[in-house]
Each structure stands twice: as C-alpha cells, then as structure tokens.
C-alpha cells in the first residue's frame, strides 16, 4: 500500500493538453469523461428509486384489486401503445447512432441523428397527448371530472379510478422526462452543429444517451403494466 499509484496525470503537463472543453478542475479529458458518465449512472440510480416508489405502490394495489386493474387496462388501446413503443425503441436506436457519430467526428450525422431522436420522441409525446385527450373525453380523468361508470359491474368503478390515477401519474412523469430530454436534445443538436464533439470529447452526447435509454426502459415496463395486464 505504501507504493505511490503512478498517475498518468503527472506525465502530461498542463499546457500540453488544453482542450477547450476541459474544465479547470479536471486533470485531463479522461478524468472528466469518467466523472460525467459515473455522474449519469448515479443519477439513473436515483431515477430508478423515484419510479420505484410508484411501481411498488402499483404492485400493491394490483394484488389488492386485480379485477379493477384488468378492467382499467381494457380501456387502454394496446395497438396505439404498441406503435408508440416501437417509435420509442426507434428513437433509442437513433440516439445510439448519434453517440457513435459524435465519437467518430461525423458532425452532420450527429445532428441528423439527434434530430431524428427528437422527432421520434415528439411523436411519442404527441400520441400520448392524443390518448390523454381520449381518456378525458370518456370521463376517465380522476377527480371531479371522473364520470365514467363500469357498465357490467359498477362496484369496480372506484378501483378503475384508482387505476387511472396510476395511469396518469406514471405516464405523466414519464412524459415529463421525455420533454426534459427533448430540451436537452435541442441543446446538444446546437452543440453538435457547432462542432464541439469528436473522439476526445463526446461525453455529453454519451450521457444524454444514457438518460434517453433509461427513459425508454421505463416505458418498456409501463407499457405491459398499464396496457396489457388484463
């Protein structure tokens, strides 16, 4: 233990390596890159617990009220949900390509791929909005405007309202994450267009990708839980 860890940082003199995006408190871009990716992983861990709370509550009620849950899921249009899932998976692909393009200095390809991600993400949110509109139209928005009554078994109605609280909260939080992601995409598109990224420095696009994939994965869980669990 008494040996001194040989540190590459000492060998590269500071002035030698002044990349414009190297922040003053890091020794080199490698350290900066590692710090950013670790930061995003830790953030994702935090997000998992954030969604975890509501997933746990969902699981508890689902075991308590299986029939209401099944009836609630019946009100979701699984076809629209499946199309949206495909759109989102497509956006993950374009996002991954954007990271690769940034890393290999393909400037315009990075921009195009980020734009494609943005468009696919917007389609997803738009479709979600249409679904919301439809639910509200059918009196399925919980609270005062909840006018829906289950035809065959009115006793299920309160449970369906509970299900819809979950539906709106879970998909709403997910959509909020998408909207934040869209804002970030716009910013990184601008930076990519400006030519900031290259093999040495592409960490921002990479961690944007991590975030985007995480948000997609949340949906991969939401879709079966909310649409398919008859």
């Amino acid at each position: 233990m008494s040996d001194i860890t040989v540190d590459s940082r000492e060998e590269t003199p500071h002035a030698h390596h002044h990349h414009p995006f190297l922040q003053h408190h890091f020794e080199d871009l490698g350290q900066q890159h590692e710090a950013s990716t670790l930061g995003m992983w830790v953030f994702v861990a935090q997000e998992i617990l954030f969604f975890g709370g509501i997933f746990a509550a969902y699981a508890i009620y689902r075991t308590m009220y299986p029939e209401a849950w099944s009836a609630g899921a019946h009100h979701q249009n699984w076809f629209i949900g499946a199309v949206n899932t495909a759109v989102l998976i497509g956006s993950s692909l374009t996002m991954a390509l954007a990271v690769w393009a940034a890393q290999t200095s393909r400037r315009m390809l990075t921009v195009w791929m980020l734009l494609a991600t943005l468009i696919l993400g917007s389609i997803f949110v738009g479709v979600k909005g249409y679904e919301y509109y439809d639910h509200i139209h059918h009196g399925l928005l919980p609270g005062q405007s909840f006018t829906y009554v289950h035809a065959e078994n009115p006793a299920l109605t309160p449970g369906i309202q509970l299900f819809m609280v979950f539906y709106f909260s879970m998909t709403g939080l997910h959509a909020l994450h998408m909207i934040v992601g869209a804002g970030l995409l716009l910013w990184f598109m601008y930076r990519a267009w400006r030519g900031d990224f290259g093999p040495e420095y592409y960490a921002p696009v990479e961690i944007m990708g991590l975030y985007w994939h995480f948000v997609d994965i949340v949906w991969i869980f939401l879709f079966p839980l909310l649409y398919l669990s008859h």
Binding site: A35, F43, P158
Partner: protein
C-alpha cells in the same frame, strides 16, 4: 517507504497568494460562484438563518408549554408552529447543514481535488435549496401549515385547509438539492482523489459523507415521488392514498418512512464524519479501528433501509411484520455502537487537548448514546406501544438530532473555522457556549423523557397540571440553550474582524486541508498533493514535523 524522494506538501509552508475570499468581492462573484468553498459559505449562511427561524417556533412552543392551559397560542397556531418547526429544522437546516456547509467546503480539499466534480450542479443545488426555502418562508408568512412535518394522509390531502401544496412542493425541490449534493460527493470521491490517496487512506469524514450520499441518492427520490403523489391527490381530489376509492393511507406512511428513517441517518452520519476528524485531531492519534469505523458507515447506510416500519408499530401493520422490523431496528444500533466504542478507545491513554471542538465531541458522545439507547427502547415493540406519540419520542429524537448532530455541527464549525476564515475564534467564549449548550440541552430534554414516560402526549398546546414542573424545567433549559446558540453568532462574527490570524495548521492536525493556507487559495492547493501516508498517521507526522522544524 518509497516516499522519501517525493515532496510532502504537509511540511512546506505554502506560498501566500490570493485566497478564495479576496479574489473578488462583488455580489455576483458570490451568487454565481462555482467554487465549492464559496458555495459552502452560501450554505452556511442559509442554514444558519433557517436554524434561527426554526428556533423561533421552538421557543414560542416552549413558552406556551410553561403553563398547562393553552393560553399563549391557540391550538391551531400551536399545530402550525410545531409543523413549521419540524419542517424548517429537518428539511431546511439539519439535512443540508453539515453536507452543504462543511462537506462542500472540506470534502474536495480532503481529497486533494480542485473542486467537486460538477461545480455548476453544486451551485444549482444551492439555488434549489434556496427556492425550496423560499416556499417555506412563503408558507410561513401566508398562514402556515398544520399537518406535522410528516404530512400524513388523509389529513394532508383531504382535510387540512392550510398551505400543504406549497410546503410539499418546497420540500420536494429541496430534496433535489440534497440529491445533487449527494451525486457530486459520490462522483468526486470516486474520481477526484489525489494521486496516492487510496480508499483506505481517506479520512473517515469522507467515508461517512460517502455513506450519507448513498442514502441521499437512494432514499430521497422515494420521498420525492411520495410527495408528488400527495400533491396529485390534493390537486385532483382523489388519489392513491384516498380510502374512498380504495387507497390506503398507511401506504403513505410506509413510503414516507422508507425515506425518513434513512433520512435520520442522512442527519447523523455527517455528524459522525465530523466527530471522527475531531477525535483524531485532539487526541493526536489514529482513530482506533479505522476500518471498522469506515465500514460501519456503509453498514449503517445499508441497514437504515430495513427498519422504516418501526414508525408504524401502532398504525395497524401486522404483528408479524412489526416483530421483524423491531428486530431489524436492534441491528442498526450495532454499527453506531461500533463508532462510539472506537472513538472512546481512541481517547484511552491519549493526551487529549480540550479545545472547544473536543468539548462538543464529548457532548456528542454522551448525548448520542442516550439518544441511541432510547431508540432501542422505542424499537422494542412493547415499549413503543406504551410511549408512542408521547414526549418520550420527542426527547429521543432531539437527543440524537440536536444533542448529536447539532453538537457535531458546532464542533465542526469551530474546528474548521480557522481554515474557512483564516481567523481563530475566541477560545474562552467558545468553551462557555459549549458548556451552555450542553447544560441547556439536558435541562430542556431530559425532563421530556420523564414526562413522556408518565404519559404526556406530544403535539398538544395544553396538558394536565401534574406535568407542569417538568415542563417549566424544560422551558428554562430552552432559554439557556438559546443563549448558548446565540453566543457563537456573536463571537464568530467578531472573530472575522478581530480574531487572531490562524496559520495554515493551528491544531497541528494531519488532514490535507491543513496542508494548504488558511483561507485556502482558489484551487485549494498550489500544487496537486501526492499522498504517501496513511490516514491519521500521527506518530510519523509529529516526528517529521519536529525534524522539519529543526532544519
């Protein structure tokens, strides 16, 4: 050791250049700063302000409780005051206090880093804290909130007509401020350690802060989602905790305590971080059982997630799960006890110097032990059924949060004050205030154990006349305590102008933070330090110090 050829930063007097305080004086150089040291100061000022806001409510409650009748404050006002007291003290003072003020300032320096990994996120975290606190102040001036700091449903969602939404939104936003601080600490500890600074050479402060950050990252988001669901329910009028549509209010309590029990360790682990540093510095010894103390922090972080339902023993959970949680609660006491025993063992046969920080450390050890042992009483199922919701509980958690964490916070403020400001505080006054805090604290809270045990419930503005003597003692103690807390405000500010200049290492301590000037320069060190020594390596340090002074 192979280190002889290497230059050891601890023994060369660093050159005096501009420091982080005098590089720039403009208001924006503070409000837009990305320097972890300045952000630490911003936190210091904000949490101190909130401490006195929370203290005001506490003092008003103690005045009300001087007499058995509810004469000074109506029951409604009293409800609001204990709620605001709890919210301000927990969310806006105790949770951010040590990590935000001392951790921000000291942690990067201890690691030999120039800053935290994400300086802008660090500034953002202070702004989020401030926005949250502004919500808190807004609630205070526009009529308050009366749910208790725990926001239990369905009262908070369906019945209370006070400012619940704004308060929970404030708590939610502040939660993200601690998340960002925790994230920064974790990444910085992993990625920014100076060359040679291996994990087992880290000061125990860092280990404890790391464990705190892990809890922050894994527990706070659960509070966040819980508060979101609460706000949704309050807005829509129905929600997942609403019994009228089949929701379960006890689920709210589970989710809330899944955060809030770990949160009590978010409050106490940073205190333990400070205590380890002070014990080593004032006994001039390596902390006894370093590895045990380091790992016990991680053990606490882990176990703290397994005991939350001990707050729900009388909430209608099954006897079976109550027994399991009761048993698990006993386990958490083990790593805490390991720390207490190791600090005590460090002091054994040491020549302890009784400067102010060390007096606070002694206070901490005694009071935290009482708080922890009464925690075991409460964790024992049968006793808890008897004393739940009495002053016994109030006393228990104040022994830990005030007797423990606030004491440690004051120890840390005094210990690092020379580093932060470059000035020494007046020792005599500081010792006096440490004494007042200790006496005042015990006088305030010890009677509450008794009065709670014999049956005085918490959260009422009036009480049975036979409890009056103990309540008068308690209010008298609170007065002494208030003086004890106000004194440091005066003499610390005084010391900024008239205090003796502190050299870079006034305590003769080993940490890296003592190897740089006081106050530290903008990037903390004049050259990146290379660490070749073990943590708290006092024998070698003292020997080398004598030798360099010979030359």
């Amino acid at each position: 050791m192979t280190s002889q050829t290497l230059h050891d930063v601890r023994f060369s007097e660093p050159p005096r250049t501009r420091n982080y305080l005098n590089v720039d004086y403009g208001v924006f150089s503070w409000l837009l700063t990305r320097d972890h040291k300045r952000i630490g100061i911003l936190y210091l000022i904000s949490v101190t302000t909130m401490f006195f806001v929370g203290g005001f409510f506490a003092f008003m409650m103690r005045l009300e409780l001087l007499t058995p009748e509810g004469d000074l404050l109506t029951s409604d006002t009293y409800n609001k005051f204990f709620t605001l007291h709890g919210i301000v003290m927990i969310f806006f003072f105790l949770i951010p206090a040590i990590p935000g003020a001392l951790g921000n300032f000291i942690l990067p320096i201890m690691l030999g880093a120039k800053d935290l990994a994400f300086p802008r996120i660090n500034l953002l975290s202070w702004y989020l804290y401030t926005i949250g606190a502004i919500f808190g102040v807004y609630v205070i001036v526009t009529g308050g909130v009366d749910t208790g700091w725990t926001f239990y449903t369905p009262f908070s969602t369906q019945y209370s007509n006070t400012k619940v939404f704004a308060t929970t939104l404030g708590a939610f936003i502040t939660g993200f401020s601690s998340i960002l601080t925790g994230l920064n600490f974790i990444v910085t500890t992993h990625r920014m350690r100076a060359p040679g600074l291996t994990w087992f050479r880290l000061p125990l402060f860092v280990w404890s802060m790391y464990a705190t950050s892990v809890i922050i990252m894994l527990a706070t988001p659960v509070l966040a989602i819980t508060l979101v669901l609460l706000m949704v329910e309050r807005t829509l009028g129905v929600g997942i905790f609403d019994p009228t549509i089949g929701g379960d209010p006890v689920l709210y309590q589970h989710l809330f305590w899944f955060y809030s029990h770990p949160a009590v360790y978010i409050m106490i682990l940073p205190a333990m971080a400070v205590i380890s540093e002070c014990v080593a510095a004032f006994t001039r010894k390596r902390v006894f059982g370093y590895t045990f103390v380091a790992y016990s922090s991680l053990a606490i972080a882990f176990l703290s997630f397994l005991v939350w339902a001990h707050h729900l023993f009388v909430a209608g959970i099954s006897l079976y799960s109550a027994m399991i949680f009761s048993f698990a609660s006993m386990l958490v006491a083990v790593p805490s006890a390991i720390k207490i025993f190791n600090w005590t063992a460090t002091m054994y046969h040491a020549s302890v110097s009784w400067q102010t920080p060390m007096l606070y450390v002694m206070g901490f050890i005694g009071l935290f032990t009482i708080g922890g042992v009464t925690g075991l009483f409460l964790g024992a199922l049968g006793i808890d059924v008897h004393v739940h919701d009495t002053y016994f509980v109030v006393s228990h958690f104040h022994y830990i949060m005030v007797g423990g964490t606030v004491m440690a916070y004051l120890a840390g403020i005094h210990y690092w004050w020379p580093k932060i400001t470059g000035r020494m505080y007046p020792e005599w006054w500081a010792r006096l205030s440490a004494l007042l805090v200790f006496v005042g604290f015990n006088l305030t809270f010890f009677p509450q154990f008794i009065v709670g045990y014999v049956g005085m419930p918490r959260r009422y503005h009036a009480y049975a006349p036979e409890f009056q003597v103990l309540n008068v003692l308690s209010t008298a103690g609170a007065t002494v305590l208030a003086v004890g807390y106000l004194l440091p405000m005066i003499y610390l500010i005084w010391s900024l102008f008239y205090g003796r200049k502190a050299g870079s290492n006034p305590w003769g301590a080993v940490g890296l933070e003592w190897a740089t000037t006081s106050p530290p320069p903008l990037e903390n060190f004049h050259e990146t330090p290379v660490v070749t020594w073990e943590a708290y390596d006092y024998p070698a340090f003292l020997k080398a110090m004598r030798e360099t002074q010979h030359v």
